[in-house]
């Protein structure tokens, strides 16, 4: 059966039924395990590898059980978000960057989307949680309070039928039951002012449609920062905005991050934004990390062919090229991932070792990590000289 899928890309109704029955069994089991009552605290607490990190992703696997097979959206992702730093996650659409962040928020569409294995350790105010195993009830105390998210489209992520102020109020009131209404409103107005909305009392009473795109994104940021979270996930915060507004929002995020002393996980496909904002960069391709390192590591000495291709395919002002580089081929189908390097079929720098299984992580320096056989070979050649 599996052979058929690989060859044609189309599957018969019978096969599809078989797959969905299997999926229901697996997801049902996971869901049942999740929904147990009174899960002991010890089951979802952990210890950080490095107490200076806010989040540690450790070999995270998030799969989607679809009717045509299992889509491995995130397939073994490990990286850290240090305290007070900005980590940029970059990659094309469908590479799993958003699913990684949704896993961290426990917002993956269930039951078909499931964290299958691996752990996400979050260094919270009251202990270290393994978010992959945290039950929903405990998660609700963390989500929005200690981790918050700024979504991509400010147009669709605000509720059109409620006033802006009320939506920000809700976040604050939900996590602080004993605070009076007046105090909540005061805090909301303060937040709106913090994100640079001049007419804060007026905006408090407005509906989202009365605001421009940039203003809506500011409201989203105000909402995300209202409880001074330890980690802000910004999922393409400026993609829908104009360049001049983008510059304003980025500037705002940078200054606010320092003000409330939190970390940012910035997800975007704009390399320019990453270079400007991030301290560390993670490059993802087809659900795996192909390269990670400090922003200088990745932008100054890009090593993985995909990173190199990505950097070359973006036109840069004041750098004239006759023809833009374009990476040949296309992304492999997430349902049938090859068992060799995912990028091999599109790679122009293949070496002998590339026929083998998926390349291991190779440490070029303390911070710079690449998954590519090209570097493995270079290292081997270097080694005998030492």
């Amino acid at each position: 059966m599996s052979k058929n899928i690989k060859n044609s890309g189309y599957i018969s109704a019978r096969e599809s039924r078989h797959i969905s029955r299997n999926n229901r069994r697996i997801t049902g089991m996971i869901e049942k395990h999740r929904e147990r009552k009174n899960v002991p605290l010890s089951e979802y607490t952990a210890t950080m590898r490095d107490p200076n990190n806010v989040v540690e992703f450790d070999d995270l696997h998030t799969y989607f059980y679809t009717d045509i097979g299992i889509a491995k959206a995130v397939d073994g992702v490990s990286f850290d978000v240090p305290r007070g730093k900005t980590v940029g996650v970059v990659g094309e659409s469908g590479c799993g960057k958003s699913v990684t962040s949704l896993s961290l928020m426990q917002l993956v569409q269930r039951p078909q989307g499931q964290i299958v294995s691996g752990s996400i350790r979050f260094n919270g105010d009251d202990g270290v949680y393994d978010i992959a195993k945290t039950p929903t009830e405990a998660m609700q105390k963390i989500r929005g309070n200690q981790i918050s998210m700024i979504f991509q489209e400010p147009m669709t992520s605000l509720n059109p039928v409620f006033r802006v102020g009320m939506q920000v109020d809700e976040v604050i009131a939900l996590h602080n039951h004993d605070v009076s209404k007046e105090k909540v409103k005061e805090r909301t107005i303060e937040m709106l002012e913090l994100v640079g909305i001049a007419n804060s009392h007026g905006v408090y009473r407005m509906y989202p449609h009365e605001l421009s795109g940039g203003m809506r994104q500011r409201v989203m940021i105000a909402m995300a920062l209202a409880l001074s979270p330890k980690l802000i996930i910004a999922d393409e915060p400026t993609t829908a905005l104009d360049v001049t507004i983008q510059a304003q929002i980025l500037e705002l995020l940078r200054s606010l991050k320092d003000k409330i002393n939190s970390s940012i996980m910035l997800i975007t496909h704009d390399l320019g934004v990453i270079a400007e904002m991030a301290d560390f960069v993670v490059v993802m391709y087809s659900g795996r990390i192909v390269e990670k390192g400090t922003v200088r590591d990745v932008f100054k000495t890009p090593t993985h062919p995909y990173t190199i291709g990505l950097l070359n395919s973006k036109p840069v002002v004041n750098r004239q090229v006759e023809r833009l580089y374009s990476i040949p081929g296309k992304v492999p189908n997430p349902i049938n991932m090859p068992d060799y390097c995912y990028f091999r079929d599109r790679c122009e720098l293949c070496v002998e070792g590339c026929e083998g299984s998926y390349p291991p992580e190779i440490h070029l320096s303390d911070t710079h990590v690449v998954s590519c056989y090209r570097c493995a070979q270079a290292r081997k050649e270097e080694a005998p000289h030492e």
């Binding site: 795109g213 001049t244 270079a275 100054k300 374009s326």
Partner: protein, 329 residues
């Protein structure tokens, strides 16, 4: 036919183009003013070149593109296409001119009919305008599709079966199938990924070389515009504030808005720390634009006269036009 083939150097000439959209409504249904989407814009595009049009959303870029093709009616001004005023043409004359000017839309997800197979999307207008004799139709379609990177067997598929980049190729093939001279590309790569963007930009450049096309390239991504254009126009709130060759505009931007816009581009290099000029606030409403210079509310070099007196277009150096009091020599 022979007259048309004669090469005139100017492809498009726009003089004082205006497009106002009346604001309907009010208690008695009267018109309460107008949105001045395009207000007194003039420029020329030479044959075989690309003009890039940049600006924030809502500044009227798309409206310029649409009025050039007479997809919406103008309010005032003239548009000359190879010397012919397209707004003076009769219905039938305009129909004959239509294949010569085409448009590629921004969103490849909504600009293709979901009910037509790709072959029909591309070929419908070819048959309608009798671009090729009937017996060569299939071969012609294959040729056009091949030049846009599509396979012949894609003809029977429907748009939903394609990825964003492939769909944009279909849109390009549709425009190209009519053998146009002038193509308006309205944000053709904004909805695409970086690596796919590069493919589409390269494709557009190749086709330009092959067929001698003239482009009006509308985009808000300055780095893309710089890559593809020969001349650049910068729009702000319905006005063309700066216009000139690429080299002049990028090396020596004159208008304060252009300077701020360029400084806002994020550079993919962690060592470059730009001297960023952050514009305060957002673009004012085009229904009620500021008096005097429209940019004065956000300008960092605003003078007293900017608030009252409207600047006019001046040629500061040959081929470099700017609308600003600062360069009022």
């Amino acid at each position: 036919m022979s007259e048309k083939k004669k090469k005139t150097d100017t492809m498009i000439e726009v003089r004082n183009l205006k497009k106002y959209f009346p604001i309907k409504g009010g208690f008695l249904g009267g018109t309460g003013g107008a949105v001045k989407a395009v207000d007194d814009v003039s420029f020329t595009i030479m044959r075989g070149t690309t003009m890039g049009l940049v600006g924030e959303s809502g500044c009227g870029k798309t409206t310029v593109g649409r009025t050039l093709l007479r997809l919406t009616d103008k309010t005032d001004g003239t548009v000359l296409f190879e010397g012919k005023d397209i707004y003076a043409l009769k219905r039938e004359e305009l129909r004959q001119l239509r294949p010569k000017m085409q448009i590629i839309f921004q969103d490849p997800y909504s600009s293709l009919s979901p009910r037509l197979p790709v072959g029909e999307i591309i070929g419908e207008a070819v048959r309608e305008h009798h671009i090729v004799p009937e017996n060569e139709y299939e071969a012609y379609l294959d040729k056009i599709m091949a030049s846009c990177g599509l396979m012949p067997y894609h003809k029977d598929r429907y748009p939903h079966e394609f990825s964003g980049g492939q769909r944009q190729r279909i849109c390009i093939a549709r425009a190209l199938a009519l053998n146009p001279d002038f193509v308006v590309c309205d944000e053709p790569v904004s909805a695409l990924d970086v690596s796919i963007q590069a493919q589409i930009i390269n494709l557009l450049k190749d086709l330009q070389k092959e067929y001698g096309l003239t482009y009006l390239f509308i985009s808000h991504d300055l780095s893309v515009v710089e890559h593809i254009s020969d001349t650049i126009g910068v729009m702000y709130l319905g006005k063309l504030v700066e216009f000139g060759t690429k080299a002049r505009v990028f090396d020596r931007p004159l208008h304060p808005y252009t300077v701020a816009l360029f400084s806002a581009i994020p550079m993919p290099d962690p060592d470059v720390k730009m001297n960023r000029i952050i514009l305060e606030g957002s673009i004012p409403s085009p229904a009620n634009p500021p008096s005097g210079c429209r940019f004065h509310t956000r300008c960092n070099r605003c003078m007293e006269r900017c608030k009252t007196e409207e600047p006019v277009q001046r040629e500061v150096e040959p081929g470099h036009f700017v609308v600003c009091h600062l360069y009022n020599l």
